[in-house]
Subunit: 258 residues, 2 copies
């Protein structure tokens, strides 16, 4: 397989340009790419150093998100092929809006208020993890419910970190399942509930990794719990998401846009 190095150069974290590069390069499966991320390239000196590193790499591709045209010009001294998101998209947007882009405005992540609301959301989601503090469930944006190890905690934390949502999670224990109805504290918050489920095989594998050969991890136990839980979800008409083949980004996007 052919190999190529692809640089992802950003004046900021590099999260966006790395995502763009991965999406585009995934369309070329015959080439094996190794990605090198160069974040915080925000001065002519750093652009110069990046250009030298790139120039020393044979046949490198370069994806970039550099808001300042002078930095892009600096990077171009590497003579590598440069795909800059602003170069490619901003001129078309300028035409449509009838106004010129302001290069200095390119950052979207540095806002302190946004940081604080997301940190508050993380603290909330940790405080209400695994059924803790049920008296505060009415303060949640979303409440994830499901059987043990179905992925509630990581999903709640991701929604808090990425989107600033206050996401509680509540495990359905075998006791809850036997009662044939949701606990009262959940029924009082029905519109906020989102149910997660999984294939029994995946759940058993996840539980086995933690408690090998336990009854808790047996395929039969997983099947029984999931089937009973799904009946409960149907009885209360909860939105249910089967996360068996999903990444945490996919789960979060489905929950955010139901």
């Amino acid at each position: 397989m052919k190999k190529r190095v692809a640089y992802c150069v950003s004046d900021h974290t590099g999260v966006t340009v790395e995502a763009v590069a991965k999406s585009v390069l995934a369309q070329f499966p015959a080439v094996e790419f190794s990605l090198i991320v160069l974040p915080f390239i925000d001065s002519p000196e750093k652009a110069q150093a990046a250009a030298e590193q790139i120039a020393a790499t044979p046949d490198a591709l370069v994806f970039s998100t550099l808001a300042d045209p002078a930095l892009r010009a600096g990077l171009r001294q590497s003579h590598a092929r440069l795909f800059d998101v602003f170069d490619l998209v901003a001129p078309a947007v300028e035409t449509v809006l009838g106004q010129a882009a302001t290069p200095s405005g390119g950052h979207t992540h540095g806002m302190t208020n946004d940081y604080e609301s997301r940190m508050d959301a993380v603290n909330f989601s940790l405080a209400l993890d695994d059924g803790l503090q049920p008296q505060r469930l009415d303060q949640a944006d979303l409440i994830l419910v499901g059987v043990s190890r179905v992925g509630k905690t990581p999903t709640a934390l991701y929604l808090a970190l990425q989107y600033g949502l206050r996401v509680a999670n509540y495990p359905l224990t075998p006791d809850d399942l036997e009662h044939g109805k949701l606990p009262d504290v959940l029924l009082a918050n029905l519109p906020r509930l989102r149910a997660l489920t999984l294939s029994a095989e995946r759940l058993a594998a996840i539980r086995h990794a933690r408690y090998p050969d336990s009854r808790y991890a047996s395929l039969q136990q997983c099947r029984d719990e999931l089937a009973t839980a799904e009946k409960l979800f149907a009885r209360h008409a909860l939105p249910v998401l089967d996360t068996s083949r999903m990444s945490v980004e996919e789960i979060a996007a489905h929950l955010r846009h139901p």
Copy 2:
């Protein structure tokens, strides 16, 4: 201020296209944009429905990451101005690589292995939160150290969720600070340590929100703790990151690319 709606249309989660749209639109500060994300547009029927919704919105801009050209064509029936990342970037990459793009290859997030390693990392980071299980610190990729409420837990969870790194965190208590050296369990793992610090004003504000008017939250106490901690960091030549004006993405990118 002029107002415009910008749609972010994706055949997947929409995370990438939303980041691109926000970066580009931040360069047009004279217009107020409201973003509408339409994820999982992965069939002709959904593209048709999205096109109808967009056509009903006056002057909408549309950013998209639709790997399948047929879906992009469907979206174009809205007659809105469409900026598709693949349309704009893939042809140039095709030229450089000398091969055609394969539209079906556009997904990068759906990998189960990746999901599991990230969930393992989250579980690790939760298990070793706040100094828990110090005997396992040698299994960590990174160990964040700093005084109470400096942002260790959210940063550790973000690095775990986003990059699959196993990140422990260890609080420096006033007792630790009085000893004038790092606890032995940290000294045994020196290369893994990353120190976090903050301005005393920010730290006091964060502590006040939790424990108003306490000695713990007083500016003097925060100043003393931070100054002593920074001396400790210098003594052991730890890499130190001042997170006062940073988002969690920025903190994570700095820690990942020291």
